[in-house]
């Protein structure tokens, strides 16, 4: 009797152990496989771009505007600068408005009609095709002004940034625990001050991620720029003139019949991706410098 009672649990135990080990290995394998699946396209794209485009990267590529048809050489210097200006305008517009709307929805208007309207609008705006955004801004800004401009392109991109930023800001603010908000109020800090200096600050890593996502998304957009920034073969820094942009220039080069231009399009794509990686990395580095040991 006693022996059998002892054996049964031991058998159970060993079969349990094998099952646990199997489940453990299976889960680990699945996790590693998924990671590889996620990484693979990015790595593949990157190496293909390197292979196709790296040979055309030289100083002239970064410092010269495109060469006229028939001449060799030329670069995308003006398009790189143009993209930087467009993204600067877009961020200057999209980041503050997006964050402010997120703060309103999460902190001040929670459950109210205006907050629900903002949330609904943001979700719809997120689904609007980018070409429609381009046409809308064309009708709203380009037509009344009667000329294409960097400004209208920046506005189109900026509007596209808002919904992502608003929704992530809202979600991140709502994740800040009640106890932290109470701590601020309990010190006799006015509500608006506590929202800006405590709640938003506590949520800032997530809010910054949201801004970076929005930035990276619009950095590669071509469609909204077709009818707004339009593109430019020459250097321009005026926000009232048509301006070149990397995605636009890539589009022009890639759809041309010349091999030389195709190579430039590959190089431009490579630079575009690198620029996004560098700017996201830079913001992360700058934002991460202030983080303390043990901060969650």
């Amino acid at each position: 009797m006693a022996a059998r009672e002892l054996r049964a649990p031991r058998r159970l135990r060993s079969s349990n152990r094998i099952r646990r080990m199997l489940a453990n290995h299976l889960a680990t394998t699945a996790a590693v496989a998924s990671t590889i699946l996620v990484m693979a396209p990015l790595v593949a794209i990157f190496f293909y771009l390197l292979y196709k485009g790296a040979s055309s990267l030289n100083l002239a590529f970064f410092t010269r505007p495109p060469a006229p048809v028939g001449e060799t050489g030329g670069g995308m210097g003006n398009a790189i600068l143009g993209s930087a200006i467009l993204l600067g305008i877009a961020s200057a517009l999209g980041v503050p408005i997006g964050i402010a709307a997120g703060i309103y929805v999460a902190e001040f208007g929670r459950g109210g009609r205006l907050a629900n309207t903002i949330r609904f609008t943001a979700d719809v705006l997120n689904g609007v095709p980018s070409i429609v955004m381009g046409v809308s801004v064309y009708a709203l800004i380009v037509l009344p002004q009667k000329h294409f401009s960097a400004f209208s392109g920046g506005v189109a991109l900026g509007i596209m940034m808002i919904p992502t930023i608003t929704r992530t800001t809202e979600e991140m603010l709502l994740m800040v625990p009640l106890s932290v908000r109470e701590a601020a109020l309990g010190l006799g800090v006015p509500r608006w001050r506590s929202v800006l200096s405590i709640t938003l600050r506590t949520a800032s890593p997530g809010v910054i991620t949201g801004c970076m996502l929005a930035f990276a998304r619009v950095a590669g957009e071509t469609a909204p720029l077709l009818f707004t920034a339009f593109g430019n073969q020459f250097w321009s820094t005026s926000i009232n003139q048509p301006i070149a942009a990397l995605p636009l220039q890539i589009f022009v080069y890639a759809t041309s019949p010349y091999d030389d231009w195709h190579r430039l399009a590959w190089a431009g794509s490579l630079v575009l991706i690198l620029l996004i990686v560098v700017s996201v990395g830079l913001v992360r580095y700058v934002a991460g410098r202030g983080v303390l040991r043990g901060a969650s």
Binding site: P177, S179, V180, E182, A183, A184, L185, G186, L187, G188, V189, P190, R193, S194, S197, I198, R201, T202, S204, V291, L292, R293, G294, A295, S296
Partner: protein, 252 residues
């Protein structure tokens, strides 16, 4: 200097739950007053009514009057003003997780626009010393986050943060519940020292602690103040049968 507190006809609700019922009591200035009672009887709710934190709850509602000194806090002042004068240490430690230890303690002053470095340094050190935390954190003041401390250290950090704004009344909701005996003794010492400058209200489940630090003790039960008297009377000769049952451990 501390100021006295006079509570009359105080009622508080969470939604339809009538949590505090007709509380009347007088808390003398520059004394420590202990509040005891079984879990859920309304002690935290009561102290949260003394600095208008209860109304920050979307379903919280209060009626009645609370005088802090001569000031009726519900009709004659803004909540922000009241909370500056009536400091609070919450039941669960709640340091600001993204701020350093130093910034946590300085936060009350800074968020109200105070910037003078020398004074801030001084206040931070004094507050941390009073809260018996200075020795443990003085080398990491600006390097470590408030959230990286142990639970008991976080509670003392919150005490220091509340002291730094120099309130007149200090509400402490179980400030020592997460502390070891040595830190608890330090906090009790602190309460002794603070009495000369502040009026202290301390919620505690530890009767010995109430007996050690508080001149007066109030016993809450089911949202009512059953008995309020000198601490030694409550513990040796309570008037109410329920108080006696509670302190002798027959329920609660």
């Amino acid at each position: 200097m501390g100021v006295g507190i006079e509570v009359s006809e105080l009622n508080a609700w969470y939604g339809s739950n009538h949590t505090l019922q007709n509380i009347n009591l007088r808390i003398p200035a520059n004394h420590a007053t202990a509040l005891i009672g079984p879990s859920g009887c309304g002690k935290s709710t009561f102290v949260r009514c003394l600095n208008r934190m209860h109304e920050t709850n979307p379903v919280g509602r209060v009626t009645g009057s609370v005088l802090i000194g001569q000031l009726d806090i519900y009709t004659q002042a803004s909540p922000v003003e009241i909370r500056r004068r009536v400091g609070m240490v919450f039941q669960r430690p709640n340091p600001f997780p993204t701020m350093s230890i130093y910034d946590n303690v300085a936060s009350g002053l800074r968020l109200n626009g105070y910037r003078n470095r020398v004074v801030l340094d001084e206040v931070v050190q004094r507050s941390l010393e009073q809260a018996a935390l200075w020795e443990e954190v003085k080398d990491d003041l600006k390097k470590k986050s408030g959230a990286s401390l142990s639970g008991g250290q976080q509670q003392r950090l919150c005490i220091a943060r509340a002291l730094a704004v120099d309130p007149e009344v200090m509400l402490m909701d179980e400030p020592a519940s997460a502390l070891d005996p040595v830190s608890t003794a330090k906090i009790e010492d602190l309460i002794f020292q603070l009495k000369s400058q502040y009026t202290i209200v301390i919620v505690t489940h530890n009767m010995q602690q109430a007996a050690r630090v508080a001149e007066n003790t109030g016993f809450f039960l089911n949202g009512r103040l059953v008995e309020f008297d000198a601490t030694h009377k409550i513990f040796t000769n309570p008037r109410d049968k329920r108080t006696e049952d509670y302190i002798t451990g027959r329920f609660g």
